[in-house]
Symmetry: C4
Subunit: 267 residues, 4 copies
């Protein structure tokens, strides 16, 4: 019995064996299918015309996920730790809305919970070679968190002040009906989204809007500069060899001899 459990553990939780890889690919397919299903269900004409087909597919997927969840709980060594882990909760939330739908009526908003199945994809991808790239990106973002916080705080201050000024300048007849709504407009403008659902009509308003736009156009350089500088630092920080003879220290990782004086480097 122990042996079967270990084998199943390898198949379900790992991706080293051939069976584990097949399991992952099948699971990935089922997850994506279930996401597509949630989306299709929300389209009015699909919901009405294919009601029974959607229902059957939803229940099939839910039962597959339920079996998978129960297997994971049984097989894992520390069941409690798994259940309350990030992926344990996601796995649970992937199946529960469908069951709740049996007892509750008007549970329209449960769809949002089922869309969280998408996060299950991350567990599968964790096992692939994309992790390294993802980790590099995450490290660069993390290293620049303080600068990005300062930048976002700065942006928030600007949009609050600009929004308030525009509320006074344009006022209610032109759609700037309240300060929060004017701040919403300021964000739409500064980030260069520009819906156009609210737009300044007075000359002064258009002038102020122009200043905000050029500002938004220019300060996008700031987060870009932060992240780029961080990314380049993280690539160049990996070499730490120092030549024992001439003390030159910027050697490549694969260097055996000093490129400056020709002395042998210490390994």
């Amino acid at each position: 019995m122990k042996n079967t459990r270990d084998k199943l553990y390898e198949v379900i939780f790992e991706a080293d064996t051939k069976e584990g890889k097949v399991f992952d690919v099948v699971l990935l397919f089922v997850i994506l299918l279930s996401i597509a299903l949630v989306m299709l269900e929300s389209v009015p004409f699909v919901r009405e015309d294919y009601r029974s087909i959607l229902r059957i597919m939803e229940w099939t997927i839910t039962i597959i996920f339920s079996i998978e969840y129960i297997l994971r709980v049984i097989i894992v060594k520390k069941a409690f730790k798994y259940i309350f882990s990030f992926y344990g909760i996601i796995d649970f939330l992937s199946v529960i809305p469908t069951y709740l739908g049996l007892f509750l009526i008007g549970t329209h908003s449960l769809v949002v919970i089922r869309i969280l199945r998408l996060l299950r994809v991350f567990r599968i991808l964790k096992l692939t070679r994309y992790t390294h790239a993802g980790r590099t990106l995450a490290r660069a973002m993390w290293a620049s968190r303080e600068k990005i916080s300062v930048f976002i705080f700065f942006v928030v201050t600007i949009v609050v002040i600009v929004g308030t000024v525009m509320y006074l300048v344009e006022g209610e007849p032109h759609g700037f009906t309240s300060i929060p709504r004017s701040i919403y407009w300021a964000i739409v403008t500064l980030t260069t989204v520009g819906y156009g659902d609210i737009s300044p009509q007075t000359s002064l308003g258009q002038f102020l809007a122009s200043v905000v736009m050029i500002l938004g156009y220019a300060i996008i350089a700031v987060p870009t500069g932060i992240v780029t500088a961080e990314m380049m630092k993280s690539t160049s920080e990996s070499n730490t060899q120092v030549c024992p003879s001439c003390l030159h220290d910027k050697h490549d990782d694969d260097a055996v001899f000093c490129k400056k004086c020709g002395a042998r480097l210490n390994p």
Copy 2:
């Protein structure tokens, strides 16, 4: 008495002691509450339904800020210098609009002054570890001020000429009613905001607009390149080694000998 004053100074102006930190957090909370209040007051239905509650809260906050302001004036060593400093003026402007509201009617635009309370947040943040990140950003922006000025001047020239040409090409029937308004359109387009409140209708106008868009899409690289290059330079300039022999202090991180006098640097 002197002792109490020193203690209060530490609590109000500094953040080293526990009391000082508590004071800062409470003040931050009150400031954010007062900003939320100014915003809510501008929402029509809130203003009408919760008039008295808003009034009570506004006066409570104003009195807290007034006491704080008076305390700051009394406690600080150079009262005049504080009163006419940047934060002194902000502190004064945080309380005065509410009092003025008692005597003046129709002082709608005083709200804009109360929103300046937001700037008080900066004083509190000044005392945190985010300052370093902020200073690095500010230094990079400041170092690239000339290049950014040239860039903005270049952008202004483009939008003035493009705006004038579009005024002739599209003309009044399509919303390009005057040159300033056409320049406003050019800024909306070049910065990729794109409200759509004014958009070209003729073929020639759409062709010119396309050129402006691709131009705007390409030249956003310029401020980004400026700031990124500056930021990377500023990160490598943070080295603080001082030569023990000649006291020269701008050595690279990888320097082993002083580049001015040839003495060995302390590691």
Copy 3:
């Protein structure tokens, strides 16, 4: 006969000789003319007023392209390899829609195939000095493909979740009629395009939209950082020094000794 064939080969497939260059320039002109023709044909009033002129020009160009295609097939050494190569197929698709138009009625959608003639321009440009720049760009993009995949996957996850939440928050009366349509809105917003055909109307929706916009404004730094870092690496990787002793070839521009065997590099 052989001689003529070789000469024609040089003219048609290469650009070293004067005749080859003239041929390329003429072909480029005909291609651009044919693209302009396809475009003009789609404009309603041009299609009706200049029907016969367009027809004559289209047939002239098609016959030129047909002759060119037949010549290429005859002259090239490996005819089959050419026919099924990328450019062979493009060349074939450049002429076939016009002939098919003789037999089939209502072949409106064949225009899309004729626009593929544009791709023929790439073959001509391949022979110019712009190739090097293009290859550098392509290499930088290719080197960062994993990071860009991770980034796009991250963006897709965000827009799916944001789209679903907005579908629940805003709902059908405000244009968020289904989850796919809400995801479309989320993409329009996150990428800062902002058509404004769908835009949030409720306060909560506008708040969430603001968060998405600031997020989109900030994370554009990520692809920029990736590509910039890659491009700077690739410019410094262009060094082509080869060690005369051990033949190792990836030396830095500033290397004086081989980092592998310690031999002095030739300057």
Copy 4:
């Protein structure tokens, strides 16, 4: 007489003397005033209410510019060279439209020529310290001209193909009335401008639009990467000193001793 001419030359063409600087500042002010005048003239209600004031000011400025132009022609050593130089032509175009307006009626489009006075500002700025920053930017742009050309050609190819496909997918009822108009839409979308005057209505169209948006969001990294890499190269390419003892070569411009081995650098 010669002496006066030399003095006037210094005042008008140079900015070294105090008088030259005063002349430049006054001229800058008059130019900006004249630009403001051209703009104001295009605003309907200003044109009607202040007709005579605008007329007087326009003629005053034109006469000032005329005197300046005549002085320049007289004073400069090579009059012909000046007249047909870039700034000579701009100076001429700054005055001629007003005189032509006396003889011609309905010369509405002459305003576009008068706006070229803005270019005269560049001559004045040429003499300031902003030139260095401008030259650095221009050099970086120029160095990356091939890569940017390839990028723009790539963007044009994408928008032509995407525009054609969208013309077939969406068709005339949804605003995609012709291929050129669809290409205009594709540019509006790819550059993230997003007016919303034309936007896809079908599911397939919205899906394709989403792909274009994410593409446009990602490939903006390319021009940014190009320009940033170029700018950083241009800042780091100024040091070429090599240590005669250890051959280290990345010394700062102000280095006297090798920072690696302490040997004196050759000046």
